[in-house]
Amino acid sequence: MKLEINGEMRELDAEPEMPLLWALRDVLGMTGTKYGCGIAQCGACSVLVDGVVTRSCVTPVGSLEGSKVSTIEAMEQDAVGQKVVEAWVKHQVPQCGYCQSGQVMAAVSLLKENAAPSEEDVRASMQNLCRCGTYNAIHAALSDLAGQENA
């Protein structure tokens, strides 16, 4: 099958049931997207499907024909993605970093929909788990980004 990933049509040698997470990691060798739980609980595997944050561990590739998939690997080529990465570095968000691909994707999705999210919006949208407890830093980075928009 064919799948559009980060703006490129990729030939994918995988059956339709294979979750996008494993197609990315194993078939395409793109390891930026992480496995944490496999059952849509943690968010480490978050990617964008047509601009909307999606948990790739429970998304069969067969459901994605005709959709545009964006992953962490392409975020610096995306206008919003680049801002988010810059804010993440500025606020020194990551600790172990393992959840952060997913956190960045969730933040990009939020900002694409709402360039200046309120604290409540951030709370409602940023639901990925972080065992290292970077939640306050994530909020600081996002309120900085929202503030830039308001200014």
Partner: protein, 759 residues
């Protein structure tokens, strides 16, 4: 000639006496070969260092006689004026790589930002702790045990670069100074970059120990400053590589199904043929206590292994395994611990506690319970194993101590240790998870499967298999009795902790001495309670146990500091005033406690009504883990019967620090884990099986449950303590004490989510 230095010296003493004259370089050709094979750029300045570390700590092994070390650690200065540094300590979010770059960079006079840091392989030379005897990433020890050594290393490299510049410019070394990354001859206005000098520096003699001078701390450019962590961009763009991301040519992947209970062994696989025919399957294997499926893609292996129908055999209990009985349940086990009436073995006594209780005006009693906890690091464990044609074995695995694994694998495989190459990618969280645990690491599976298939194999434990074999933070039932005098002040304390310590659990037997980590946080308190008897009543657990962030302190401070508040209440004392009284004359802790209270805007216990109309209260607690001191205040309210923690103010005194921004991040991280433990976490068993196998049932702190965290760093100048673990233990009791004030109901069981509260 390639330069190298050996800084050998007695492991005792302080300051410069610690460094005897350097030994002669030996075996240079071998060294050149080793470094060449490790990919060092030609012309790089390579410094090996024999490890002159500080006095062995009381709990460290005795320092060995000084010796020159064969395979050096190294620092590579490249022609492009960047640095590659091999860190003895792993990076798992705690900022170790950045701290190393800061310390070495400070004395080298090189911006930490141009450092590229990787984890060092297994090797004697990287054992920089306790007189060069060991190296682990744990116990919050990375920076404090290597601080002096790393400064020496940077200073030595700088001295060699200066000598090279002196020769190149034809001037005296004493006319030269350095600026970050370059040597400057002020008189002539000339300068040379380190990159330009690195090759010439190779021909410089190694400076004698006496010629290496360290900077005056007042001139520090980077140490003590909030230097940016060096791995932020890689970790924000998916480029950071963890063990689970390892790939090598021709690699297969494997998923396992563990025996449902430890001690069971696989018998016949009833549907093997059908599973072999599933898509993508390469082969099906029977392992010690598990079955596995190998496939080019992990998802295929996982689908297939889950489908295996195995006839698990129960050979019954034996000495060799930590057997999990079919009827084990945490509820019943808690009852069992609680029903113990023994007095246990004494870990600490002082004064005459029997007499203190006999003459007490009032006796307070309380029984407390903690829970098993998973590490729940977000990266599931994995290991990639590859046997090479020359008989060596490469392993990519999450680990907190490469030499420990190298030795264990050598014993298991019969390979010589030097044939076993341990690669240590970044850790996707660790918290104690990645030590050697007999039944808790995936490397035996990876090695067995690589052998069986003749190809490199990467094993990933699914989250479900991880929660089945993750060794856990021990639980305990602890019985407290306090004696108060006629004025209501505590004068006697009697504690029996019914538990098995993590060390005892890992060894699967009791040692000759008590497991110190079983009672740490209840013992060795600074509070002046003159009569004490603190004991452990050992009860073996069937579960596997482990170190968990802040180890025994993680629960013991919850017990102790909560009970301290109970004694305060019973004696009619304010808990802040009580602590100040019990710490009278202890300037360091009094200052710290006051700092936490000041940070919170002054002591305000409550209950009170906050601006948003919620009823709130505050609790206070302290802890002294891993060489540092901590004091915390927490503010809580109740919402829908559950505890909400709004703010945590924490003051921490690690003596002195390297990076305040990292300290602040670590306090946030430890607060999150402390809140997680006290509010929501707990691993439970029923019928010999964990109830939760994934994050749908096993709760960890969610984003909306995080408190605002305010940090005050106090640098008392005391001996440097740890940072990764120390901020944790004061959090659960600060929260529990606040909840007790708010609800009028003492909290004695974690997690609080088991109960419903009313403000």
């Amino acid at each position: 000639m390639m330069a190298r230095i050996f800084l050998d010296g007695p492991a005792n003493g302080s300051g410069d006496e610690r460094f005897a004259a350097p030994a002669k370089p030996v075996n240079l050709s071998r060294r050149r070969f080793l470094l060449g094979s490790a990919g060092v750029a030609t012309g790089a300045l390579v410094l090996g260092f024999g490890i002159p570390v500080g006095p062995a700590r009381a709990q460290g092994p005795a320092a060995p006689a000084p010796k020159a070390l064969d395979v050096p650690a190294f620092l590579e200065i490249r022609p492009d004026n960047t640095v590659r540094f091999l860190s003895p300590f792993m990076e798992g979010g705690q900022g170790a790589f950045t701290a190393m770059a800061q310390i070495v960079g400070e004395e080298l006079d090189m911006d930490p930002a141009v450092f590229e840091v990787e984890a060092a392989p297994a090797g004697k030379v990287f054992q920089v702790m306790f007189g060069g005897t060991m190296r682990i990433t744990g116990g919050s020890m990375s920076v404090r045990t290597s601080y002096d050594t790393m400064r020496r290393l940077g200073a030595s490299a700088r001295a060699m670069l200066v000598s090279a510049a002196a020769q190149r410019l034809g001037v005296g070394a004493d006319t030269l100074t350095t600026e970050p990354g370059k040597v400057i001859h002020a008189a002539s206005g000339r300068s040379l970059s380190y990159g330009e000098l690195a090759e010439g520096a190779l021909d410089m003699g190694v400076p004698e120990a006496g010629r290496i001078s360290l900077k005056d701390p007042k001139d520090f450019r980077w140490i003590g400053k909030p230097v940016a962590r060096i791995d932020m961009h890689a970790k924000s763009t998916g480029q950071a590589m963890y063990a689970i991301d390892s790939q090598v040519e021709n690699m297969l992947q494997a998923a396992v199904q563990h025996a449902p209970r430890l001690g069971l062994q696989p018998g016949a696989i009833r549907n093997e043929a059908a599973v072999k025919a599933m898509p993508g399957v390469h082969s099906v294997h029977t392992l010690d206590g598990a079955v596995a499926v190998v496939a080019p893609y992990w998802w295929h292996a996982r689908q297939a292994v889950d489908a295996l129908d195995v006839d698990w055999q129960d050979p019954g209990e034996s000495e060799d395994v930590r057997y999990m009985p079919a009827d084990f349940a945490t509820d019943a086990f808690t009852q069992h611990l609680s029903s113990q009436t023994g007095r246990g073995e004494e870990a600490e006594t002082a004064g005459d506690s029997a007499a203190a209780f006999a003459s007490a005006a009032k006796v307070v009693e309380g029984e407390f319970t903690s829970q098993y906890l998973h590490h729940a690091q977000l990266e599931p464990p994995s290991t990639l194993a590859r046997f090479n044609d020359d008989g060596s074995l490469d392993l990519w695995m999450p680990n907190q101590g490469p030499e420990i694994f190298q030795a264990a694998i050598a014993a298991k495989t019969g390979l010589a240790p030097e044939k076993i190459n341990i690669h240590s990618p970044l850790l996707g969280g660790f918290f104690g998870r990645h030590f050697q645990y007999t039944w808790g690491n995936p490397y035996p599976h990876a090695i067995a499967l690589a052998k069986a298939t003749g190809r490199p194999v990467k094993v990933i434990w699914s989250r479900e298999e991880e929660f089945l074999r993750d060794p856990m933070r021990p639980m305990a039932v602890v019985k407290f009795k306090g004696a108060l005098d006629a004025d209501g002040w505590p004068v006697g304390l009697d504690v029996v902790s019914v538990c098995e310590g993590p060390g005892e659990g890992i060894a699967n037997k009791r040692g000759e001495k008590l497991d110190e980590s079983a009672l740490e946080g209840i013992t060795a308190k600074s509070y002046a309670i003159p009569n004490r008897r603190i004991a452990q009543l050992f009860v073996k657990n069937p579960t596997t146990l482990a170190y968990w962030r802040s180890v025994g302190n993680s629960m013991n401070d919850f017990f102790y500091e909560s009970f301290l508040d109970e004694m305060a209440d019973a004696g009619g004392k304010d808990p802040y005033a009580l602590r100040l009284k019990l710490l009278e004359g202890n300037e360091r802790l009094t200052t710290l406690l006051n700092a936490a209270v000041e940070l919170s805007g002054g002591w305000k216990r409550g209950p009170f009504t906050a601006a948003d109309g919620t009823r709130r209260a505050r609790g206070i607690a302290m802890a002294s883990p891993f060489g540092s001191e901590a004091a915390a205040v927490a503010e809580v309210s109740i919402q829908d019967g559950q505890v909400v923690v709004h703010d945590v103010w924490e003051a921490i005194d690690p003596g002195s620090i390297v990076n305040p921004a990292i300290v602040e991040a670590q306090v946030n991280s430890a607060v999150a884990l402390g809140l997680s433990q006290v509010l929501v976490e707990g691993a439970e068993y029923e019928a010999g099986m964990p109830v939760a196998r994934n994050f749908d049932v096993y709760q960890i702190l969610r984003p909306e449950q995080m408190a605002k965290v305010h940090v005050k760093i106090v640098e008392s100048g005391a001996e440097m303590g740890g940072i990764g673990e120390p901020p944790l233990p004061a959090i659960p009791p600060a929260v529990a004490n606040a909840v007790s004030v708010l609800t009028g109901k003492r909290v004695r069981v974690m997690p609080l989510s088991k109960e419903s509260f009313e403000a």
